[in-house]
């Protein structure tokens, strides 16, 4: 490596900070707010209530996937309790953020052909990637600070808070490394974020399994992860125990993995051309098959990569969730003294997991719908709409595939989970019904994305992400944990999709489907009336 290979890095870092700071500011204040609210709201529980909540979650293997290990000692302390419940969501958010930051500064730049200009304007070969990693690290340190601050203002001990904050920053930094690597492997930005998402899913599943197979303390007052935790950076975060053991040496693991990932990424930079991936371009067919010559066929061709990329993992997640909740009955026999409440909770568990999966699939639906915006900014749309194809038909083909695709994903998850947990076919039918109910919330959000695309194309990406995160955090799963005020929870469609089919109101669910159609229709009309904008 020559010294000039990094030339221009500082300029690019400053350029990125200047152009992207609003995104970073939103993440910073969002994470700060999340931490403050979560700590404050959970601080209102009495010690007894905290213990009950821990027992309820730890007693169910399925639920253990979504919390982090805690020990019987000091459960009543808000510092430990808040991470017991929030480690999962903070980890997801930090990972999404890091992948997005690095992907935007590397692959997206290349796709937009700006990277080529940067490369020919005298910047070194590694400057683009190096600057993206620097920005990724800086933002994650800022997020660590935001999390720490969120704890400290609630009166949590300072040094433990710093370690806790840094552990999530470190996880984020590792995912910056992951994104740097996938950016080199894939041919374009969406393939790269798809690959990162699959890596994240793997990291999540390994960690979830480590919790499920972990060692439950007496009376379900906490648990330890199994050795599997060491195979997942998400598990490492949970092994730090910032308020107990304070295992600072784990930070060397994070640093080591980050350096390794970045090193491979830099190595691959040399092995490929700007604008290409390391996986070679295949020689393809010179003619289009009949189905692909129709708008719907082409849309299918464009959506199918991401769709099948999600289909297999989501089926796997369904089966894994099912397997984890499958032996519920046995666990509860040991805790008969909990009685009714527990049986109810046990029945609800698979439906909660369907809701969580639907929240994940919402990210797929958003990206699939924003595919339309990508067609518009990347150029093909000008070509397509200068043919006799009407705007409405073009849009309908993409919306149809995004909706069908996300619906299939949700139902696949429910089906595979059902296969494992259901004892009768009516049980399986009930699982699928749970999927249809939860999908109502997603459908309404999809309608909203379509509307944003029609009305405010330039802001559609940012606004839809904000709306989606809000809907998830204020929804049926996280809303109650965050103890948000009723009106805030009610704004999220997920709040109105009750977990158990017998608790869900048919009227509300149908209303959500209806609203989805109405919002979508606004999008269709607006799109017909607007300019094509890059």
């Amino acid at each position: 490596m020559k010294r000039t290979d990094l030339k221009g890095t500082l300029t690019l870092v400053l350029h990125a900070l200047k152009g992207e700071w609003p995104r970073y500011a939103i993440w910073f204040f969002g994470m700060f707010a999340l931490m403050v609210i979560a700590t404050y709201a959970n601080g209102q529980f009495s010690g007894e209530e905290m213990r009950e909540l821990v027992i309820l979650s730890v007693g169910e293997p399925g639920m253990r996937m979504l919390v982090s290990p805690i020990r019987p000692e000091g459960i009543e302390d808000i510092s430990r309790f808040v991470f017991f419940r929030f480690s999962f969501v903070i980890s997801i958010l930090v990972a999404i953020m890091s992948v997005q930051i690095v992907n935007r500064l590397t692959r997206l730049e290349e796709d937009a052909k700006r990277a080529e200009m940067v490369a020919t304007s005298g910047a070194g070969r590694y400057a683009q990637l190096f600057s993206a990693l620097i920005v990724g690290v800086l933002v994650n340190l800022a997020i660590a600070f935001a999390l720490t601050l969120g704890l400290v203002v609630n009166g949590v001990e300072v040094s433990g808070s710093i370690v806790a904050g840094l552990s999530y920053g470190a996880l984020g930094i590792v995912f910056a490394g992951v994104a740097a690597l996938t950016a080199q492997l894939s041919g374009n930005a969406s393939a790269s974020s798809g690959l990162s998402a699959i890596v994240f899913l793997a990291v999540f599943v390994v960690n979830a399994l480590s919790n499920v197979t972990g060692n439950v303390h007496e009376d379900a007052l906490g648990f330890e992860s199994s050795f599997l935790a060491w195979f997942s950076p998400m598990g490492w975060v949970q092994e730090v125990y910032p308020f107990d053991d304070r295992n600072l040496w784990i930070f060397f693991l994070f640093a080591g993995l980050f350096v390794l990932l970045s090193f491979i990424a830099f190595f691959l930079v040399d092995k490929r051309d700007v604008g290409r991936g390391i996986l070679p371009d295949k020689r393809g067919r010179g003619r289009a098959p009949g189905w692909m010559k129709k708008p719907l066929g082409l849309a299918y061709r464009l959506h199918r990569g991401a769709f099948f990329g999600w289909l297999v993992p989501i089926a796997f997640v369904g089966a894994a969730f099912g397997a984890a909740t499958g032996d519920l009955g046995e666990t509860f026999e040991d805790h008969e003294f909990f009685g009714e409440a527990f049986t109810e909770a046990a029945r609800e568990m698979p439906f909660i997991l369907i809701a969580v999966a639907t929240m994940m699939v919402a990210f797929y639906a958003r990206l699939a719908l924003l595919r339309m915006r990508k067609e518009e900014t990347d150029g093909p749309l000008d070509n397509v709409l200068s043919t006799p194809l009407s705007r409405t038909k073009w849009m309908a083909s993409h919306v149809l595939l995004a909706v069908l695709g996300s619906f299939t994903l949700v139902m696949t998850m429910a089906f595979f989970q059902g296969l494992v947990v259901a004892e009768t076919s009516s049980d399986l039918g009930e699982q699928l019904l749970g999927g249809v109910i939860q999908y109502g919330a997603l459908f309404m959000l999809a309608g909203l994305v379509v509307m944003l695309f029609g009305l405010i194309p330039k802001q559609a990406s940012a606004v839809s992400l904000a709306v989606l995160l809000y809907a998830i955090l204020a929804g049926s799963f996280f809303g109650p944990i965050l103890d948000l005020p009723e009106f805030m929870k009610n704004l999220s469609p997920y709040t109105h999709a009750k977990f158990l089919p017998e608790n869900a109101s048919a009227l509300r669910v149908l209303t959500m489907y209806g609203l989805g159609i109405a919002l979508g229709a606004v999008g269709f009309i607006a799109f017909r009336k607007r300019n094509m904008v890059f």
Partner: protein
């Protein structure tokens, strides 16, 4: 009959007025060149014509129909090649040609094969691996293979090498023979000079000149280079003389056509030793029209790069 009729077309991007009342007619079977520097408003005009952008004022008719309201019907008879052909990175060139041509009402297999061969295009590669020139060829083939009445090109030779530019010109000449109507925007004058029946010069959102090249040349200045026995010190004061420059022994200047007689008389009074008169190139016509704005358009170009 006019294939395209543009009347008093205006377009604002926010506060900025990109088009300031464009009037333009293109007859059926005519090849019209829309020429002007970067930022003049060519792409804006073309995208409004295609119903991709909304006009701010005026009227735009294609085959007698409104460009925005009836865009779908208009598109049945038209093919368009944008200034930067950008398509789906994972699809092959052949797939894209088939898709676009099918949407345009079916592939003419014979033409498809013919143009792929003419442009020496490899249809088996994924779009992301094509260079700008190859993407341009792809757009051209997809348009030619569809067999439509009207073809709109925005800066068609931008990425083509000289050899392929020549092939392109031959293809357009063939289409002209077939009686197709062609609108071609460009800032490359050589394209337009050879192919177009008429040109319209656009600058800062206004059409400053329309007509055949011959008609325009008459109105314009000739470039004269002269050597005389007696020094021509007072030449700039003669009516119809512009931009006098010393050229070693000789002087060169531009002369208005209608004053040419007086000017030559003045020269011969000083004893002409040698005299060259060159007709204006399109370049000269063009330069004159945006001399005032020239530095501005340079700046625009720099910004874009």
């Amino acid at each position: 009959m006019n294939a395209i009729e543009i009347r008093n077309l205006t377009k604002y991007y926010g506060e900025f007025q990109a088009l300031k009342g464009i009037d333009l007619d293109i007859k059926q079977g005519e090849v019209l060149g829309l020429i002007g520097p970067n930022g003049a408003g060519k792409t804006t005009t073309v995208r409004i014509l295609l119903g991709l952008l909304k006009k701010s004022g005026g009227s735009v008719k294609v085959f007698g129909k409104d460009a925005w309201e009836d865009s779908v019907e208009i598109h049945e008879r038209l093919a368009y090649v944008p200034d930067d052909v950008r398509l789906w990175p994972k699809l092959t060139g052949g797939e894209v040609i088939d898709f676009l041509a099918s949407l345009r009402g079916g592939i003419n297999e014979e033409k498809r094969a013919y143009y792929i061969e003419r442009f020496e295009f490899d249809p088996n590669k994924q779009c992301r691996s094509y260079s700008k020139g190859n993407r341009q060829k792809l757009g051209l083939i997809a348009a030619f293979a569809a067999d439509t009445d009207l073809i709109v090109f925005d800066e068609p030779t931008g990425g083509l090498d000289p050899l392929m530019s020549k092939v392109f010109q031959e293809c357009v000449a063939e289409l002209k023979e077939e009686g197709k109507t062609i609108l071609m925007s460009s800032h490359i004058l050589a394209d337009v000079e050879k192919l177009c029946d008429r040109v319209a010069i656009i600058s800062h959102g206004e059409i400053v000149e329309t007509g055949t090249l011959d008609a325009m040349r008459h109105m314009k200045r000739n470039l004269i280079t002269v050597r005389t026995k007696k020094p021509l010190s007072d030449l700039s004061d003669v009516e119809g003389v512009h931009n006098v420059e010393e050229n070693g022994e000789a002087l060169s200047f531009q002369a208005d056509n209608e004053k040419i007689d007086d000017i030559i008389r003045h020269l011969s009074a000083h004893g002409i030793q040698s005299l060259e008169i060159a007709p204006p190139t399109l370049e000269d016509l063009f330069m004159r029209h945006y001399e005032e704005g020239y530095h501005k358009s340079e700046a625009v170009r720099d910004e874009k790069n």
